[in-house]
């Protein structure tokens, strides 16, 4: 379908004759088709920045908890605990020594450390107070064995070997603990994904409203562009570049502030160290600082939110353009 006849070799539309000026005119296309000032972007940038900040904090917190949980898991999984219970008619110290030797002989065990009576007393101190005499209590002896990292320890064989030398001994590989840690970190990740989904939905709704507002304000421009034969795709692209810029601005601001928060979090955590709150946080989140990969994930997320802004805007643009003849 041909567009107009200027593609064909035609003479000049008008002949100025003597009116033709020798002075070159300065006029040029300088103005954007959609003026930047016609799209009130401050509110949208603020909304996208806040959403990106919330998303970044959520993602960062999820990454910290996951990293800490993984660390705990690997620490706990690299140790097994053995208990030798006092039983009438058996020598507890001898049984503990026999179990120590049995565990040491097991392949994959790199170190066995039996807790002394004093150390056992120390473990019970938070519950029973200091100055405790273990002679009066049937306190089991505890041994901690470190497993060679990467070794698939034959726990059944170890159990058999231990109970052979001391039937009153038991082996705990902390499986229940690890399962609990796994479900806790899994729940944290799911909660984080839920919050991220809500943030994204809120961003899409805000951007759609902002786009509709901008389109309403620029309706006369859209109508004129339709008059001169511009298609919806052309018009949408003129608006889209504004919204992409606004989305990127919001993403950089929100994501940047969140990164700074994580960057300074170690110092902030330092201010609270020694306080009950600080200790709880340290126990839960470890050092409270993100790794480099965490920062990269936050940067990618900020760009993704800017892209979502552009996508939501584009969707609304085409829907609105359909309503304008």
């Amino acid at each position: 379908m041909s567009t107009n006849r200027t593609d064909q070799p035609l003479g000049p539309l008008v002949d100025l004759g003597r009116d033709r000026s020798q002075m070159p005119a300065r006029a040029r296309n300088m103005s954007p088709i959609v003026p930047r000032g016609s799209i009130s972007g401050t509110a949208l940038v603020a909304v996208v920045a806040i959403m990106t900040f919330l998303a970044s904090i959520t993602t960062g917190a999820v990454l910290l908890v996951s990293a800490s949980a993984a660390e705990w898991q690997s620490e706990v999984a690299s140790e097994i605990t053995l208990q030798v219970r006092p039983v009438a008619g058996r020598d507890l110290d001898r049984d503990a020594a026999a179990v120590t030797e049995a565990v040491r002989a097991q392949a994959g065990i790199v170190e066995v450390r039996p807790f002394t009576r004093e150390e056992s007393a120390k473990l019970l101190e938070p519950w029973l107070g200091s100055g405790l005499s273990l002679d009066e209590l049937p306190v089991p002896r505890v041994l901690v064995a470190r497993v060679q990292p990467g070794t698939d320890l034959n726990l059944d064989a170890l159990r058999r070997r231990v109970t052979q030398v001391a039937p009153n001994a038991s082996v705990d590989d902390h499986r229940a603990w690890i399962e609990r840690m796994r479900s806790m970190s899994g729940a944290t990740v799911i909660a984080g994904i839920g919050i991220l989904a809500l943030v994204i939905v809120a961003t899409v709704i805000s951007v759609s409203f902002a786009t509709r507002g901008a389109m309403a304000a620029n309706r006369p421009i859209v109508e004129v562009l339709h008059f001169v034969g511009a298609g919806d795709r052309y018009i949408a692209n003129r608006f889209l570049r504004h919204f992409l810029r606004l989305g990127l601005e919001g993403g950089v601001i929100g994501g940047g502030i969140a990164m700074l928060v994580f960057g300074f979090s170690e110092s902030i955590a330092g201010w609270f160290s020694g306080t009950p709150v600080g200790d709880q946080f340290a126990a839960l989140l470890g050092t409270f600082s993100l790794r480099l990969s965490g920062y990269l994930i936050l940067a990618v997320q900020a760009v993704a939110i800017a892209a979502i802004t552009a996508w939501a805007s584009r969707r609304t643009l085409f829907a609105t353009l359909n309503e304008i003849e």
């Binding site: 379908m1 567009t3 539309l13 008008v14 005119a25 006029a27 296309n29 300088m30 004129v224 339709h226």
Partner: protein, 219 residues
């Protein structure tokens, strides 16, 4: 080029403002569309420009049944039509030059390929000194001339003009009519909606007269 068969138009549930329109606009033709105020001239121009759809009948434009066109196809057809509306529809944030160059800009033409033509046309319509002015500071007549220049610059196949000389003095009115005639000679079919008898008397052309929603053609 344009063919209307039993076309009717009503707004909402109101009475038909245009009814039983049967006419054709041949290529390279020149016609005045006239009739009393409120007769439906602007509505008919909007039907021709595809910004209104008929409530009944067939409108065939450039060989296409307009009821079957999607938005992209309508946009493509509009590139072949120039329109001058009574309210000018200039973009206030663009200079006169940029407004007139807009049809070229939206099809992605290089500015160097049309700049001279835009400047010459602006001088021809008496806006040579107002090229860098923004529409809000132009007079009604200047806006009208800018709107006309924008409509004719891409040499459309069909030019639709709604009261194009309503805001200019008789001398400039004659000059603008000459522009339309030149454009027609170079191949554009021209439809000028007007109730200015003096303007119509200056050029012997076909007349389409709207009266009480019906169209009478005087060859």
């Amino acid at each position: 080029m344009v063919r209307f068969e039993n076309v009717g138009l009503r707004y909402g549930l109101g009475p038909e403002v245009l009814r039983d329109l049967n006419f054709a606009i041949p290529a390279h033709s020149f016609q005045f569309l006239t009739g009393p105020s409120g007769a439906g001239k602007t509505s008919l121009l909007k039907l021709l420009f595809l910004s209104l759809r008929p409530t009944r009948g067939l409108v065939n434009l450039f060989g296409h049944d307009v009821s079957l066109l999607n938005k992209d196809q309508i946009a493509d057809l509009r590139k072949r039509i120039g329109i001058v509306l009574q309210d000018f529809r200039l973009l206030d944030h663009m200079t006169t030059y940029e407004n007139v160059a807009l049809p070229f800009r939206v099809i992605g033409k290089e500015e160097s390929s049309y700049r001279k033509e835009v400047i010459d046309l602006l001088k021809w319509v008496g806006l040579g000194e107002r090229m860098d002015a923004l529409p809000p500071i132009l007079s009604g007549g200047e806006k009208q001339r800018a709107a006309i220049a924008r409509a004719v610059i891409s040499r459309p196949h069909l030019l639709l003009a709604d009261e194009p000389t309503g805001n200019v003095d008789p001398t400039l009115g004659r000059r603008l009519l000459r522009l339309f005639i030149e454009l027609n000679k170079s191949g554009t079919a021209v439809v000028i909606a007007t109730h200015d008898m003096a303007l119509m008397d200056q050029y012997d052309a076909r007349r389409l007269v709207l009266h009480q929603g019906r169209l009478h053609v005087y060859e």
